[in-house]
Structures are given as structure tokens and as C-alpha cells.
Subunit: 399 residues, 3 copies
């Protein structure tokens, strides 16, 4: 398969800019897809590499410099993503102090459609205090959502299948590794088929070390208008929904409905267990649908890979970040010690790896939306919904 | 007006280097002014953009990568600025850890003629401890003088007025913004007229968010020789001067006079209220004059915009940073909580902004110096001077 | 002497790439040496400058962007250095948060053959808590091994002696300096002679300030296979060896022998006083020899310059960092306050400097190894060895 290596630090390869399209590959202009790579300059984005994949219908950008996250997307005039208060991104990780701001420094660069959270930790920041033999203390801050979204990829390549439908794949490797610490390689493959309404992210997390490696990963998919709006709905086949805290508890009854942009709104977060197709086929899905029911974004993934689902509702003012996060993960975004104590940590054995696969599908007609809703309803029929409007063990810290 | 956009992240514009002068604009060589832009390479300055404006008489450099600060200046053979122990600047913000060194990391890059301090906080660093429900703690460090001087500008342009005297203006936008945090755009306009002895900085601080935005800004103007030297004087129309602390108290009687470089000298800081021209016309000024009285730098600003004035005397050894700071601000550089409790925080309403304008004027003859001194004296005649050699509320923490 | 300036921020010189060899200098191809300089791109190395010196027999790389450290070396098919879990280096300092991870952030970039540790502090991280008059606290983290290995050089040049044997020298200046803080310039000269089996590093630490400057420096030389391996030996003329802590105490009897890669092995560290040739000629040496005794790396230095010698044994799994560190220093890598209290801090007077010189010699035949061993033995004959398998004052904290 033709492979265009854009970055490979092991052989000192790096390509400043590139465009790949059917003409360049001599494939005939069957569908006007393209992949372009450029280096951004100026401002806080200076030195950031950006790849834009356009399958002719669906377009999205990948940021190798920011851990192979997805920056923005577009589908038939609909924007995928949100208006972050970070207006000048994608921000170079060198300008993001993850341990700054009491562990909230991650927010300095947060503007993505998809930011992966992990791998040493994700979720709320926490601090570990150590008292040394001489009585002195040290404080280690584990910042919000970990480091993976701010690590430049050491390997980036583009592959185009020589046979129709000429699947396009962007490959990347991001290493979160240090002596005496975690050593995990995330090998990602982000693919789409020309003319399709979906993209698929397959991540393999490979233990690079000779010790078992505990890890967490959470996929922070973020959407604003036109999918999010007053009356928009969250749909998924739900076994249980639990308010993360008292603030979320105030809105549990409407956990699946969104309000209009509301200045001063404080975020509400809900933890879910979803219904899978079956034990053998643990596929599930989650969906954000606009009020009219003629547009929706759908995430498809597997419960056995990503068993914990989190919904982040931040229907604040439009300029404060009017956004919702649909977040399948290996765990809930509580501080890691809480998750670890409840067994929601993945441990990679020596020589082992862990795979997740998530598909983002965009539907933009009432009929298509109805079809996905019916799919949700069929799965929902397997289970009643347990609702907890107070935080409840084992998913959320009580009291 | 001809506008040369050097950086605009919103449209992916960035210019590596550029020279603008009368010839390039077809204006005729009426005065040998120029504006040049380059990218610096190597050392800690690698990747820093630098603009040098030469109006033919006054020359100064602007650092878009460091928050549109002024790096160095020159006027008829006189250097504006100081010899910082940071000898290899301008330092790229990616190499400055603002929360490092107990919140003093800002000093790693501090070498400017003008560094703006703010916008979330300025002044002394402070730490906020939070105890969480589970008993764990978190510590957030608010570093010395805040972040604005270490944020790369997302927009930079040069304008030259088509009509004589062809005013030259450098425009910049620097955004201090994050989700759940401050969201303020500083839109600056730094202008000078060919052949003049002054430059003017007009900053508009624009609230980008749907919530009111509290802010602080302090203009840290720094001068060493030849304006600073033994016997040099600080002159301004003074209502009150208060020693910041006991150390400053030791020198209150000579607050307006400078000594020779003195190895081991510990800084002294004084807080002033100045006299304005009138309530309606709140113009005021502050001046650093050499001993001989034949050279001076003068800052002109408005009391209603920048009501708090701070003088920083750091007459340490020449190689330790022999420098004085003339610092008009919205507040005194105490830790923000102190200033906030005393009402010295500006709150930008939703959709609102705040404007400051400061002119730096350089005078280099006894006659010109005398004229400005007379101006100071006329304003001083309106008011007695209240001197406090101990720190005193509400401007400085007592005891 | 022909000098090729690669970086000089004082005159805005920076060279993207360069190759110097006998042909380029018109010296005749007496020996196929070369010096090449390039800028690395992509991944976490993006923007890092790298110099490779090949003397025809011995090849090594220098990283100006990382404090003029030595990255990797090769000698007749033998690799000098180690396989760090940091697989994508050399890592740009802008991506290393030295105060992160509780002061262990330095490890994010640690993959060198030689990393210098210092200058404000080296050794274990420590935290200084300050309680302010208003009762608030601040915590300053002094990170593991200090800052010097993560400061880009402000001056870099290559010199080639015009006369045979055409000594090759790479010069560099790295400034660790800030207002109110340390102000030391490290002027390094890294030299080798074409066709030789050694390189010499001469560092002069120059006080840039008008105040005395306390400093520490430790040379963290790191070796993995083929010099390190099961049965490999550490040899040096030893006056005393002291286990750093209880963990090291477990292995004191075998302090000078290495085991095979052992997953889960916890590091062991020993502190030595070595024997010098004489009081007047304080030369000494330390050596790592493979089991077969046909390959060794030898460090030669002076006890009066580098009186404290530390051995770091980290015979962990191959992929976890199977490595040993031979570390001559001005001090032991205890937290600086401990070292300061025991007088192991160098104080540079005003206008003064401190020089260290270390030679790395590589020997790759049984005869040559035997010659160096005999040299060690001759020095050892001057002194008995005092062994302490418990940490013992004044070199290591007791209890």
C-alpha cells in the first residue's frame, strides 16, 4: 500500500508540506478526496503540524503535534467541534504547562473535536504529597486529563488503499514514556472512505516496558452548534445514569436534554453504563441529535473496550464554551486514585497491548437520524434505566 | 491605510521577514524611517519574532512572541532599557516556566524595556491552596506578573499613514484565554511619528467572554544607564508615596534619588498616588532624569486609566541588574487577593473593554529636560506630598 | 584557528546545517574526519540542533539545544550510551517541565550519554516551603538534576587546528541566569583528535554576576551494552564506598559488579571517594569494563575539580533502562541543602570561575583494558578501601 511518511524520528524524516489526491496518485478523479499536510506558523500555533483529510463529503483535521487529536471537522456545511475560548489554536504543547493553574493548565490548549485523555491519568487533577525522611515534603501534580494530548507524534504517515474505495488512513505513534515511569506507545490509525459520512479511530496502546503498565484512556469528543442547541438531545442505550456531584444532581431529570447557551451555567457531568448489543457482540453507540431531529453525530464503540461513558454538559454562554462532551473511556474522569481503587484501570502486561476502536458517524437527514434512534431504542429495550441523581458508588464519590 | 499583516492565525498568515520603508512604499525619502521584521534563531530566542521600528531618530524593538512587549530602544546614541542578567534574550515563552521557581519563573525571560504584567494577576506571586472533599489538597501558583508577557500574539500588522507625517503603527492581538478562565484580548497599537522623540502604546483590553472579566495590568518600564546612574532622579507630581515594606522604608527619604551600582543592594519599592492635571483632564507624568539633567525618559499617561504608580529601585551591581522600573498600573504589584480586597481590580463587563494609553518620550538636552521638570512642578503645586516610610493601608500590607 | 560559528545570539548568527571535513578545509584527506551540524524536525525533537563529530574512529553527537550534552557515541561498532525509555529524543527542552512530576520532569528528556547536572542544584529534587507574613505559603520545587541540561546554548562554534593532528573542538556557551538568581556561564570545549579513542570536555563555569555564586555540577555519564552486561565490572581506585540508602546497602558487597537485565530491579547508588595520583597531581580515573575484559570505557578527571564520585546501578529490564551512571561531581547527588550543609558547594567569587576537565577514553582490546586496569591497581595500592553498607555521614543521610 502506498505509504507517505510525514514524520519518523527514528530515521530523521519530516515533511514540511504535502498534498495527496487522486491525481497525484494516478487514481483517476473518481471522487475529489485529498490529504494535505502543512506546518502552521505564528502565534501559539507556531511549529504545529496539521493534516487535513477531506474524503469529499467529510473533512477533518488531525494534529500530530498535539497527540494525533482531531482538531476540527466539517460535514456538508455542518461544523464538527465547538467554539473554544481558545481561539488561536491549535496550541503548541510547549506553551501548555500541564501542571500549571493547580493542574488545569491542560485547558490552555483545549479546543479540539477530539482530545484523548490519559495515559498515566485522566479526569480531574490530583496532587500527591510525599513526606521524606528528613521531614521535607514534595507535591506532585497529576494534571487534568493527563499528557497524551500534548505529546508530539514521533511517527506520522498517510496510506491510501490502491483498490477502490481507496480507504484513506493516517497513522501515528505517540509515546508517553520516561525512565522510572509509564512507557506506552499509542499507535493510532484514523481512517475514512472517500464519500462516506464516518471516520474510524483505532488506537493500540502498546506497553514498551518490561513491567506491567497501568493506563487510562478517555475519548473527549466535543460538539457545539449546529448539533448542540436548545432542545438538542443525547441518546444512548442506558443501563444506569449517575450524577457526578450535587451540581449534576440538579439536572438529572433532564440529563439527556440540552438548554440554550446560558451565561453563568456551571457544568453538569453524568456517568453512564450503556447497553451493549450482546455479551458476545458488545457494540454500543451514543448520539447527539439537534432539536429538529435532522442532524446528529453518532459515536460507535465497544463496551468491552470502553466500558465507562461520561456526558459533559457545558451549556454556558456561546463565548464561554457552549459545548457537550460525549466521552467513552476505560474509566470515569474521577481522580485516578478513586478509579484505581474501583478497578477501572487497564493494566497492560509486558509485551501486551490494548485496542480501542471508535467510529464517528455524521447523519444529516431526518430519515438517517430516525434510523439511528431506532437502533438506540432496540438496545434500550434490553434494559431498564437506573437513575441516580446523587453521586453513588462505585462510579462517583459519595458525599 | 496600507496594512502589512505579519501574523494572522485566523487566516494562516505569517511572514518570515519584511522590510518596510519610504522607498518600498513609494513615499519619497523624506525621512529615513523603516520597519523590519525577522525571526530569530538559535539559543533561547529560537523561534521568536522581532520587529524593529526606526523612526529615524528613535528606534525600538517589539516582540510579538513575548506578548508585544518592547525589548530594547535607542535614541540618538542613548540606550533605552537595561542590562538584564538574561543576556541571551528575547527568550521564547516555551522556555519560561511561569509557575517554576516558586512562581518566579517569569524572571527567566525578563529583559525588556517594557514588559506588561497581567492580566489575570500581576505583582508578587501567590499560591492558593484548596482542600478537596476527600481531604486531598491542591496548590495553584499564580506566578509573578502573570502570563501576558509570555503569550505569543495571534495577530500582528504594520500600518503606515499615507499622509505626512506618515505615522507608523504596529498592531497586535494577544489573547489570555482558556475555558473556565479569563478570556481577554489585548489589542495593542504601538505608534510613532518619523523623526519624533516618542512612542505611544494604546492597549484595549476586550472581554471575549459572556461573563464579567476581572483584570489587572501594570506597565513595567525598565531603565538602566545612561538615564539611570548615581545621582539620577525620579520626578513626578506626587500626592503620596508609601514604602512597600521595611526594606523600602530604609530609603524613603531618598525615594526619588538613585545611588551608584551597589553589589548586594536589595530592591526598594515605593507606591505612589500621582497628581493629575485635573479631574476632567487626568493626565499625569513620571520621569527619570540623569544627574546632569541633560537626558530623561518621560512616561505620560492618565490617572483614570492607570491610577496606581510603582517605582522599583534595583540599584544592584551592574551585572546583577542595575535598573529602575517606572510602573503605571491599574493596581499596585501586591498579590492579587490583597489588591482585590481593596478594589484595585478592573472588571470588564460582558461586551466591554478597558483602554490605557502611555507615551514614552525621550529628551536629550538640558532645555528639554527643564521644560518637563517645570511641567512636573506645576502639577506638584496642586498638592502636598504625604510620605509614609512604613507600609500603610490601603496601598501596602502593614506589618 | 579556523572557527565556524554556528550560533551566536549576540550577533544574530545561526546556521541551519554545515559539514566540515578535510576536503572542505583543503587539508588533504589524511584522515576521514568530519563535523556535521543539522536541525532536527518532527516529534519531540523538533527544533533541536545536533552536531555530530566523527574523528574517523570515535563518533559522538552534541546537542547545543540541550545544554551541550553528549547524546550518543560510537566507537568501532560499539555504541556509547544507553537505550533510554525516551526513544524519540533528543527532546526539546520546551517540552520538558522540570518542576513537573514532583520535580522528576527532567526524566522526560533523559536519554544522553552525558547529561550535566546543575548548576543551581543537582541530585534529588527538593521543595522549599515559605510561609509569608499573611500566612499564605509558597512551594518552590528544585527539580532533579537542575536546569543546565535543558538550556539551549547561546554560542556554538567549531574549531579545527590548522596543524596536524588537526584537533577538532566544539565550543559552546550555556547561561544559567536570571535576575535575583544564579548567573553562571558554562563555557565548554569538547575536543578530540582525528583517529584517537578519546574526547575531552573542558568546562569553565564563569560567574557573570557581581555577587558570589554557589554552584554544583555533576557529570552524568551513562552506559548500557555492550560495555554494561552481566558480569561487567566497575573499576576505580577507591578510598571509600558508601551505600546511599538501605536499598544500595543490599548490594554493597557487589557494588563493583553488574547483573543481567532484571525486570523490576530498583536502582542502587554508591558514593565514593577515589584515590588521586598524588596531592600535587590529583588525577584519577573510573572505568566500566565488560565481563570479557575486552572493552571498556574510562573516565579521567581530577579529584580537586570533581572530588565526589557516584555510581548509579540501574540494571533493570532492557526496555526499562538497563544502564549504569559513572558520575564525577563537585558533590554527591543528595538534595542541595544536605550537600550545602556539608560544604560540598563550589562558590565562584565575583569575577571568578571554576574549571573541570574530563576525558572519556574507549578501549576495545584485552591488552588496552589490562593496561588501564593496571593503572587503577597502582593507584589502589596507595589506599585501603573503607566500605560502608549503611548510609553514613558526611556523604549520605543516615537513617
Amino acid at each position: 500500500m502506498p505509504t507517505f511518511v510525514l514524520t519518523d524520528v527514528s530515521s530523521d524524516v519530516w515533511t514540511e508540506s504535502l498534498t495527496i489526491d487522486p491525481t497525484a496518485l494516478g487514481l483517476g478523479q473518481d471522487w475529489p478526496w485529498s490529504v494535505t499536510k502543512e506546518r502552521l506558523r505564528g502565534g501559539r500555533r507556531d511549529g504545529v503540524d496539521l493534516i487535513v483529510v477531506d474524503n469529499g463529503l467529510l473533512r477533518f483535521s488531525i494534529v500530530p503535534t498535539r497527540g494525533m487529536g482531531l482538531w476540527k471537522g466539517w460535514f456538508q456545511g455542518n461544523r464538527l467541534g465547538w467554539d473554544s475560548p481558545v481561539t488561536d489554536g491549535p496550541v503548541h504543547p510547549a506553551l501548555v504547562n500541564l501542571s500549571g493553574a493547580g493542574g488545569l493548565g491542560w485547558l490552555d490548549g483545549f479546543d479540539e473535536l477530539l482530545a484523548r485523555c490519559g495515559l498515566e491519568n485522566n479526569g480531574a487533577p490530583f496532587e500527591v504529597k510525599t513526606v521524606k525522611p528528613d521531614g521535607s515534603e514534595s507535591h506532585a501534580t497529576f494534571g487534568l486529563h493527563g499528557r497524551i494530548a500534548n505529546i508530539p507524534a514521533s511517527y506520522v504517515a498517510v496510506q491510501v488503499a490502491p483498490e477502490p474505495p481507496h480507504e484513506i488512513a493516517v497513522l501515528g505513534q505517540v509515546d508517553e514514556t520516561r525512565l522510572f515511569g509509564l512507557g506506552i506507545r499509542m499507535a493510532t490509525r484514523i481512517s475514512t472512505v472517500p464519500g462516506s459520512n464516518s471516520l474510524t479511530i483505532r488506537d493500540e496502546f502498546i506497553n514498551l516496558k518490561d513491567q506491567p503498565a497501568p493506563m487510562q484512556v478517555l475519548y473527549h469528543w466535543n460538539f457545539g452548534p449546529p448539533f448542540l442547541g436548545e432542545g438538542a438531545r443525547f441518546l444512548a442505550p442506558i443501563k444506569s445514569v449517575t450524577a457526578r456531584d450535587a451540581r449534576a444532581g440538579e439536572g438529572t431529570r433532564h440529563h439527556d436534554r440540552y438548554q440554550a447557551p446560558t451565561a453563568g451555567f456551571t457544568e453538569q457531568v453524568y456517568y453512564y453504563e450503556l447497553v451493549g448489543q450482546s455479551k458476545e457482540v458488545p457494540k454500543t453507540l451514543a448520539m447527539l441529535r439537534n432539536r429538529e431531529g435532522d442532524k446528529a453525530v453518532v459515536l460507535r464503540f465497544q463496551k468491552d473496550q470502553l466500558p465507562a461513558f461520561t456526558l459533559w454538559k457545558n451549556t454556558a454562554g456561546l463565548r464561554d464554551g457552549y459545548v457537550t462532551g460525549l466521552e467513552p473511556g476505560t474509566n470515569y474522569p474521577n481522580p485516578r486514585p478513586f478509579e484505581a481503587a474501583r478497578g477501572r484501570i487497564v493494566t497492560l502486561p509486558v509485551g501486551g497491548s490494548y485496542v480501542t476502536e471508535t467510529t464517528l458517524q455524521v447523519v444529516a437527514s431526518p430519515d438517517e437520524v430516525a434510523i439511528v434512534e431506532a437502533e438506540v431504542n432496540r438496545l434500550q429495550a434490553q434494559s431498564a434505566i437506573i437513575v441516580s441523581s446523587t453521586p453513588k458508588e462505585p462510579v462517583a464519590p459519595e458525599g
